[in-house]
Amino acid sequence: MEKGIVFAGFGGQGILLAGKVLARAGMNRGLEVTWLPSYGPEMRGGTANCTVVIADFPIGSPVVDCPDALVAMNAPSLDKFEERVAEGGIIVANSSLVKRPVKRGDVRAIPIPANDIAAELGNPRVINMVALGALVRALGVVSLEEIQRAMEEELHGKGRDKLIELNREALRRGFSEAEKYLS
């Protein structure tokens, strides 16, 4: 088994953290994982993306030509990566910002109104966890509990403990939202 996942969006959408949490969950499960942020200009701002690979044997390339899954947090990200997703792959798109549908017919498209859900939860910053929850559901490599624990580990002790409960909930909401498209 080897899965490559690309997370893409604007800087500030928590893209890198979402990838890290997934990688950590994979590691905790005893799998091999890699996490690679994209190289942008040396300055901040603009777009951000990262690639996570999870496998049950040593991972060769941390770069993925044809990801098995894409999490597109905004429209430019979907435009950029849609074509590259592997046949039968997954596209989680943040439908709060991505107004167009996924064009590809050979992938499982999962539109998640991440911004709206996050707003409901009372903190716009958890959009990344909403999307991640949805991805986890579709991917099936780690469980909801595992991804929640990985998130906890990631936030713990970094002055973000009080956000853990909120993020648990965000993951759960994303997870169950994805159900709709997978049953």
Binding site: P41, E42, M43, R44, G45
Partner: protein, 255 residues
């Protein structure tokens, strides 16, 4: 690409992008004073009508893309070496107007020797020195000009002068030398200061046209991104904190 806007009827254009600037958008972060400074240099070039004989030197730093922004000839220099590169150009072709545009890491850390010696030789060049107290492009490390107590990625508990050095007063140092014609410190955190800074930049270029030699305009700038402040907060911080350590004004002017 910006489109030429037709002048609305009954109105006259009183402010627009200088001719010396291309249509390329700046790559600076939102609210970064680099953009103001870059524009002031372009305005000075316009006002002096020297675009077609000016060569700029882009540093390594957030201004590395400068050659895209300007319509004049440009050379990209190795980190810290802009003054040496400028010396090479100016000595080869004294008829050209040569300016460097450098951050504090570039000019006052790795480029200390090149800066000091170009100044001491009185090289007939214009130096625009953008002091934002941090390494912007590499992600917020301490600069020679970082304030005491200021947190950066390499001074996570704040700069401790006895350990990390004091804020380096390179302009004060250079003013001690016989070579420079003009050393001044300006800021651009509000309209009046921008107007003054512009005047200083103009003078620094005029000095070169008059053969007066080395002129350096230090400009206190912001780095909202790495200071982790809003652009407005960053501007206030310059006005209130940075100017305390780096007071504004002329440090040397041979007139």
């Amino acid at each position: 690409m910006s489109v030429e806007v037709a002048v609305p009827k009954g109105y006259t254009r009183v402010f627009s992008k200088p001719r010396a600037l291309s249509d390329a958008g700046f790559t600076y972060c939102p609210g970064c004073h680099h953009g103001i400074i870059t524009r002031l240099v372009a305005e000075a070039i316009d006002e002096l009508g020297i675009l077609e004989r000016t060569v700029g030197i882009a540093p390594v730093g957030c201004a590395v893309f400068l050659d895209r922004f300007f319509n004049c000839d440009f050379v990209q220099a190795a980190h810290g070496r802009a003054c040496a590169v400028a010396t090479g150009i100016k000595r080869a072709r004294p008829d050209l107007v040569v300016f460097t545009y450098q951050g504090d890491g570039d000019l006052a850390a790795i480029g200390t020797a090149e800066t000091v010696h170009a100044a001491n030789r009185g090289e007939n060049i214009t130096v625009i020195f953008v002091n934002n107290g941090i390494y912007g492009m590499t992600g917020g490390e301490m600069a020679p000009t970082t304030l005491p107590g200021q947190r950066t990625t390499t001074t996570p508990a704040g700069r401790e002068p006895r350990l990390h050095g004091y804020p380096l007063k390179i302009s004060e140092m250079l003013a001690q030398l016989d070579g420079p014609a003009y050393i001044t410190r300006q800021a651009v955190f509000d309209h009046p200061h921008i107007v003054k800074a512009k005047r200083a930049i103009l003078k620094a270029f005029r000095n070169q046209l008059d053969g007066k030699g080395f002129s350096l305009v230090e400009i206190l700038s912001t780095c909202p991104t790495n200071w982790r402040m809003s652009p407005a907060e960053a501007g206030r911080w310059v006005a209130e904190e940075v100017t305390e350590v780096f007071p504004l004004g002329d440090l040397k002017d041979v007139g």
